[in-house]
């Protein structure tokens, strides 16, 4: 551990990341108007026809003490399997599983290479600037794992001139405390920001124990969570054409893992420590833009219970270099390479293991006429023994109707995707399966988008997307005919669905209203099974809700703001046979904020209630979730 703390010190001493400062009161109308430009973000320039949704900044700011899991569960159609209030939380995108989701931080993969997935409950919102969700396959752009979709995290942009900062203190039901602070300095060519947070939650709520006779009300035990972390971001414009950014992100999480109702408390505990360091150099020349990212990640996972003591420690070295060349206003080409090197020590492996992966990518964008945008992306990954085939993606975006009031676009794409086996799949002692193949997917989608703008006072954006996806050679661990557990290419899955969303923003004098409604239908079924006895063909995969809906609204009047969030999750089967399920549930969250101006500084008071209707629900069977709770927070912002 000595090295870990040394790196910590180094992080503290010389690196970077930005606070959430200055995000308190973004002008929502303006924000929304900006997102009308579909290709606002660099990665999306080459992702025509795909659906990328940005999480609302007012929401992120209000709920900054929470985890990414809580935020995405509340504000997107994604379903999270959460093992109780303190356990891990993994995502299911468009009917796929957690490993089939890429998670990127400033453009680089951060999912655990041993498990091949990210635990969203240990990814804090604090210190993250932007959260975007890419629905559907995007492996040609993002690489392995972007089958069902991708979650894109970016460090905050710090634009303030001079010194700024904020302090947030929060206390809530069930023994919950949170504190965060940030400090930043910005000048014309330089900005630096440091933020830190600490979080303690007892999770000592009461719930009905369904496993015991008479379902007695009991207090949740063994679910305490302690988390803290640090981010640093530094941006330096060395010259008008050259910029350097350094980002550092450290997260620490020590959790008692909440046992299932009816299951023995084995004192399971998990320690997660992740250090992520990145340097990004950008240079503008007549050959276009050069972007080189260099990163070092260290992920430690230490699990213990009464009879287990298991540690996985992985170091990841990553290099991504890309060159973007734009010709006139119609052609753009980006080519690049991504190199990853993993050094993994895991108690489940026979010895320290190393693996290198490379991928080459080329992204084209062509706008033959102004309203039509075409993109073609190609990626070839090179992984020893597990070479996936060339992965293409073809997309278009056609704004076929454009008047003063209305814009209507048709968009679509066809994209391949892949996922190479994880380090555990490859190196777990005794479980090796030499015949294992990478997963492969095909995603087709078509969408219609309508935007209605009435001056600066009313904006309505509506989007409907239908998709069809096939994922073959889906990897899952299962026992073979002799009872040996090993990873296997278990099944072929067909997922299809519909995604509807509409966002309205209106300004009526001093009252500002914005609301979002969304609905998704997801059918994700086994199309073929390659292993095992019973066929569950045609049946919905476990823990994929067919229906999910959400309604979010924000009202601002003078210094008051009310944020509401209503979320419906339909029935989920708990095995692939459709013979047992968890009931649907509805969650309502409300947050009321009052803003006080203290000279040039701002004080923000927020009272919020989560699960206001006191719904009893589970996202993983028999893992109790918190009932109605209240949180009060104070935030002091120095401009």
């Amino acid at each position: 551990m000595a090295r870990f703390s040394f790196l910590n010190v180094w992080l503290g001493a010389c690196l970077s990341s930005v606070p959430v400062a200055a995000m308190a009161q973004q002008d929502t109308t303006q924000h929304q108007l900006r997102t009308v430009e579909v290709f606002g973000k660099p990665a999306e320039v080459y992702a025509a026809g795909s659906r990328v949704v940005q999480l609302d900044s007012a929401f992120l700011s209000t709920y900054s003490s929470g985890s990414l899991a809580e935020a995405l569960q509340a504000r997107t159609p994604l379903y999270f399997k959460t093992y109780g209030a303190s356990g891990s939380s993994t995502v299911a995108f468009r009917g796929t599983n957690a490993s089939q989701t890429a998670v990127l931080w400033n453009g680089l993969h951060i999912a655990s290479p041993t498990l091949g997935q990210a635990d969203f409950s240990v990814l804090p919102l604090s210190g993250i600037g932007e959260v975007a969700v890419q629905h559907g396959s995007a492996a040609a752009t993002y690489g392995s794992g972007a089958i069902g979709g991708a979650v894109l995290l970016n460090s905050p942009k710090y634009n303030t001139q001079g010194l700024g900062g904020d302090v947030k203190l929060e206390t809530g039901s069930f023994g919950r405390y949170f504190g965060s602070g940030s400090l930043g300095y910005g000048s014309k060519n330089f900005s630096y920001a440091l933020s830190a947070y600490g979080h303690l939650a007892e999770n000592s709520f009461k719930y009905k124990d369904l496993s015991r006779f008479g379902t007695p009300e009991v207090r949740q035990e063994h679910a305490q969570v302690q988390q803290h972390g640090l981010t640093q971001d530094l941006n330096w414009h060395i010259s008008p054409s050259t910029a350097l950014s350094l980002h550092g992100w450290y997260t620490f999480s020590d959790r008692e893992l909440q046992p299932a109702m009816g299951s023995v408390n084995a004192n399971a505990r998990q320690l997660d420590k992740s250090l992520r360091l990145m340097a990004d150099l950008q240079h503008q020349s007549r050959l276009g833009q050069t972007d080189v990212k260099l990163a070092y990640f260290n992920d430690l996972l230490h699990y213990t219970d009464n009879s287990t003591d298991s540690e996985a420690n992985v170091e990841t070295y990553q290099l991504q270099a890309e060159q973007t060349y734009t010709y006139g206003e119609r052609w753009s080409l980006r080519g690049g390479i991504n190199l990853q090197h993993f050094v993994a020590r895991n108690d489940g492996y026979a010895s320290q293991q190393e693996e290198s992966r490379a991928s080459l990518f080329a992204l084209f964008r062509y706008d033959p006429v102004q309203p039509l945008q075409l993109t073609l992306n190609l990626r070839q990954a090179l992984v020893e023994n597990y070479n996936p085939p060339l992965t293409p993606a073809l997309g278009f975006n056609w704004k076929f109707f454009n008047s003063n009031l209305h814009q209507v676009s048709l968009k679509g794409n066809a994209s391949g995707s892949y996922r190479v086996p994880t380090l555990n799949d490859r190196f777990w002692a005794g479980a090796g399966n030499p015949d294992l193949k990478p997963e492969q997917g095909w995603n087709y989608e078509l969408g219609l988008r309508h935007v209605l703008v009435q001056g600066n006072t009313f904006l309505l954006e509506t989007e409907v997307t239908g998709y069809y996806m096939l994922i073959d050679d889906w990897i899952q661990w299962a026992p073979n005919h002799t009872g040996l557990w090993r990873p296997t290419n278990l099944q072929k899955v067909k997922s299809e669905g519909l995604e509807l969303s509409t966002t309205a923003t209106a300004t009526l004098g001093e009252l500002k209203l914005s609301s979002t409604a969304g609905y998704t239908y997801t059918s994700s079924v086994q199309a073929k099974v390659y292993e095992g006895s019973g066929s569950d063909q045609g049946k919905q995969l476990m823990y994929v809700p067919r229906h999910k809906g959400l309604l979010a609204a924000e009202a601002k009047y003078k210094n008051w703001s009310l944020l509401g969030n209503l979320n419906y999750t339909g029935l989920r089967y708990t095995s692939n046979s459709e013979t047992s399920h968890l009931d649907s549930f509805m969650l309502l969250n409300l947050a009321l904020s009052r803003r006080l101006q203290l000279g040039s500084n701002t004080l923000l008071l927020t009272l919020r209630s989560d699960n206001l209707t006191n719904a009893a629900y589970q996202t993983m069977a028999y893992r109790a979730m918190p009932p109605r709770g209240y949180t009060f927070s104070l935030r002091f912002i120095i401009p």
Binding site: N97, A98, L115, G116, L210, S211, R212, F213, T215, A260, M261, G262, S263, V264, A266, Y303, T304, N306, S307, T308, D309, S310, E311, D347, G348, T422, N424, D425, W428, A429, G430, A431, W474, Q476, W477, A478, P479, H481, T482, G483, W485, L490, E531, G532, S533, G534, D536, M542, Y543, T574, S575, N576, S577, T579, S580, H581, L582, M620, A621, Y622
Partner: protein, 362 residues
Amino acid sequence: MKKLNFFRSFLLAATLALTSVGFTSCDDNNDGPSGVYAEDGVFVLNEGNFEHTNASISYYNKSTQQVQNNIFSKENADRPLGDVVQDMHIYDNRAFLVVNNSNKIEVVNATTFKSVGVIEGLSAPRYFVALNNEKGYATEWLPPNADWSYNNGRVAVIDLKNNKVIKTIEVEKQPEQLRIINGKLYVTNQGGSTVTVINTATDAIETSIPVTYGSNSLALDKNKVLWVLSSGNKDWNLPESEYTAGALTKINPADNSIIGTITFPEVTASASKLLINGNKDRLYFLYNGGVHQLSIDASALNTTPLINRTFYGLGVDPETGNIYGGDENNWSGDGTVYVYSPEGTQLSSFRASIGPNGFVFN
């Protein structure tokens, strides 16, 4: 770092690395007939996924060939049975359901499956047997050490009038199946080389019979010979060269003497789930990736299996002699039960629930 036991590491792998796994059974969509589970039926013990509280019991009616899943929850206000059901024992009008990772034995009426009590405070209970309506015995494992090594286990003596543990008797490591013969309780010890004999009048250990390492199941034949099946030492921490062979040991319960031993030829192959047919003249067990049959008159093992595949759960119908094999179906969907004739011809199959690991014939 502690060295992980291989089994445990797979468990971890299963828990941590499985991406799409996570299950339960909290309700029941079965439309089969309900009510009486008394006649001509087979109870299927569905272990469920470890730490997911979705163990369940299925009821298969042999004459109508209909299956009712999740009968415990159905008869008990949707309450889940618990986490990992390991054993079920019917005595008189009560059925005892041993739920391993819930540290309890649920007691239900054997015909209605309505709850009549629960025996709590056990430690990883494995198997149960009743002496009479007043007293029963359960084998228990104590929590393993951090290196996954085991200490001695114990047998809990349970007062069946009030469902309380009266006393515990220390036996060898990892006690498994147990059986009462002539007032003596025979306890197999998976983590040792003896069968422990306990006098049920005094609840004290009478003797220990040395057998091949790793005894896990036993059966009494028509000649009153007790057969004990041992897996041999298959400690995953050891290299395969240090494994020892499994065996069948024949014991005369009259004087606890060993009549003979049939040692298995394949040293690395494990053996488990010894059963006997209704006529008590043919033994069945799992060995070396297959279902094996052995006449009680045989002196050596026929190395060709009766059924050339293994199962997670095995049962033999005492009435028909049919063999029931439970397939865990990747643990992500309901398992399948295959029914074979006594000669090993597949007759039928049906779906039960998650991880069928045993059968009880009514």
